[in-house]
């Protein structure tokens, strides 16, 4: 027991350093090397530091600001929309009984399992004149994640006693008023869980963004990373690829380290009942 007191922390630190530390270290040091030195990425420190050159080049060549704008433009309304519409529907699905509601609920959550029909989504968006537009992208994301929101929120609403709604009802509040003033504030934990997951998925999504936004004016951070890395095939610009990787990952990592307790409890709060 006495030995394991020192062995355990040592094993934990060593494992963290090797399993996570080394890959992240490789990305960091390579992002500060010259193109020639980064040709074969390794774990050594840069002989000549090219930190500023690489990052400013990744910033312009990878159109970081435009990608950041595109990512936010698509993510924020999608997440807000899917949470508002999804919670509204979940409240009704959770409170009303009957066969029709059971069928609707089953249909609504089937999207958690079923893969989105990514190719025909493009066809549909063309017919609706929404192809390559941020609005089309938002609607596709909302369609994809509506099931997840309805699944999480309906389960949560069922744990809230109906009595809390009744006081407001006796004061003459109408259904929408009750939903906004009474129910929505109580949904905060589950909405936090859904927000974290959906933001993570949309922020890092590249597959669906390819099909919907690819070839258009708008872009996102992952799409730009892919185009920087694709030019790596013939230019060997690992230094720029990793500068971009660091630039793109840093915001989420900083947010996480600052708010880690709330994020972790947010994830587990809604996921495991």
């Amino acid at each position: 027991m006495r030995i394991s007191r020192f062995v355990h922390p040592a094993v934990v630190l060593l494992l963290s350093a090797v399993v996570i530390g080394i890959p992240l270290w490789l990305a960091l040091v390579t992002s500060a090397k010259s193109q020639g030195e980064a040709n074969l990425p390794d774990l050594s420190l840069p002989r000549v530091w090219h930190l500023w050159e690489n990052y400013s080049q990744a910033f312009t060549q990878g159109r970081v600001l435009w990608g950041l704008f595109g990512s936010l433009l698509v993510m924020v309304p999608s997440v807000a929309g899917v949470l508002i519409f999804g919670s509204l529907a979940s409240w009704v699905l959770a409170r009303r009984a009957g066969r029709a509601m059971a069928v609707l609920y089953a249909a609504a959550i089937s999207g958690i399992v079923l893969p989105p029909a990514v190719v025909t989504i493009v066809l549909l968006l063309r017919q609706l004149h929404l192809a390559s537009t941020p609005i089309g992208m938002m609607l596709v994301y909302m369609g994809m994640y509506m099931s997840l929101v309805i699944f999480f929120v309906t389960g949560f609403v069922r744990t809230i006693p109906v009595e809390v709604e009744e006081a407001a009802r006796m004061d003459g509040a109408r259904p929408l008023g009750i939903f906004i003033k009474v129910v929505l504030p109580l949904l905060r934990p589950v909405i936090a869980t859904a927000t974290i997951f959906i933001c993570l998925y949309i922020w890092n999504d590249v597959f669906y963004a390819f099909f919907v936004l690819g070839g258009g004016t708008y872009s996102t951070l992952p799409l730009n990373l892919y185009s920087v890395a694709s030019s790596n095939l013939y230019q060997n610009n690992w230094n720029l690829v990793f500068a971009y990787v660091v630039l793109m990952s840093l915001p989420l990592v900083v947010v996480f380290v600052v708010a880690q307790r709330r994020i972790i409890s947010g994830i587990t709060g809604g996921a495991v009942k």
Partner: protein
């Protein structure tokens, strides 16, 4: 509950919870999720492509095409192998980490944060990092070479047999932090009384884990296996960034195939594969999730 309202006439649920609240969510779902899914069953049997404007039905020609060039069966096989490997590794690594970092010490709390960082990174970024690490003359082989005392040149990403395992490992590396967090939450829900009872009955650490704690975290196992399976049936980013589907298309899962063929303008063939993915998930995922849930109830 409703009849306890003192208004005399019990209000109907349809009035208290109006049906139109369902409308926006179901409209989005119907148009942007279910309609494209229905389209899958139509356009998989047409000649829709980038090379002409009209779209005509062609019967089973696309199915025959992807069957005869072997793409359908090979992509299906690789997708199933990849998803199975990810589900096993991701859940296994996550459980191992959760058990290792279970006690609430400072170092463990720090390590949990560290292991969660890859979850936040884009899978593309993770893939590029491992592509660099796993080059034949890259750092991993260099390290193994130093240990072995001779040159090691394992083609981690260049083997037609084993690369699918490497890629599944990279994807599991990215997501194991999430599995860990879910398992930690599951382990926390086990009451101290139960563990105390097991200890009094003379159960050792392994026995306690095997017979008490592992069965009690069944919901966490379900969640992790199900999300890993579903996520990797749709696996794309990690593979794109590490191998792009190679070598010799031996890591070309369905989504990579769809992406490549769509890029070549063969939209109907891509749709056929998308339909195949839909059917694969329907046939495999529902029974697996059903089995896991039943296991939760039995235990």
């Amino acid at each position: 509950m409703i009849s306890s309202l003192p208004t005399g006439r019990p209000p109907r649920r349809a009035v208290l919870y109006p049906s139109w609240f369902l409308a926006p969510a179901f409209a989005v779902l119907a148009v942007f999720f279910f309609l494209p899914t229905v389209f899958n069953f139509v356009y998989a049997f047409t000649d829709w492509s980038a090379f002409h404007n009209d779209i005509r039905p062609v019967g089973l020609a696309n199915v025959e095409a992807v069957l005869s060039n072997g793409a359908l069966l090979s992509s299906l096989r690789i997708t199933i192998v990849y998803a199975g490997l990810v589900a096993i590794m991701q859940t296994g690594f996550g459980l191992g980490l959760a058990l290792l970092l279970e006690r609430d010490t400072r170092i463990n709390r720090f390590a949990r944060v560290v292991f969660f960082i890859p979850v936040l990174m884009s899978a593309l970024a993770v893939g590029y990092t491992f592509q660099a690490l796993l080059k034949p003359d890259g750092p991993v082989n260099g390290f193994l070479g130093a240990l072995a005392g001779q040159d090691v040149t394992i083609p981690w990403l260049g083997s037609t047999t084993w690369t699918v395992v490497t890629v599944a490992f990279v994807n599991s590396w990215k997501w194991m932090g999430l599995a860990m967090v879910i398992f930690l939450a599951g382990l926390k829900t086990i009451s101290a009384d139960v563990l105390e009872a097991a200890r009094i009955d003379g159960a050792g650490r392994w026995r306690t884990f095997r017979s008490v704690r592992f069965p009690l975290i069944a919901p966490a196992v379900t969640f992790n296996v199900a999300t890993a399976l579903l996520g990797s049936f749709n696996g794309f980013d990690t593979i794109l960034a590490t191998t792009g589907g190679g070598p010799a298309q031996q890591t070309e899962v369905l989504d990579i195939y769809i992406f490549r063929v769509y890029g070549n303008g063969l939209f109907a063939q891509a749709t056929t594969m998308s339909l195949a993915l839909l059917l694969l998930v329907t046939l495999l995922a529902f029974p697996v999730i059903g089995y896991l849930r039943k296991r939760e109830r039995v235990l």
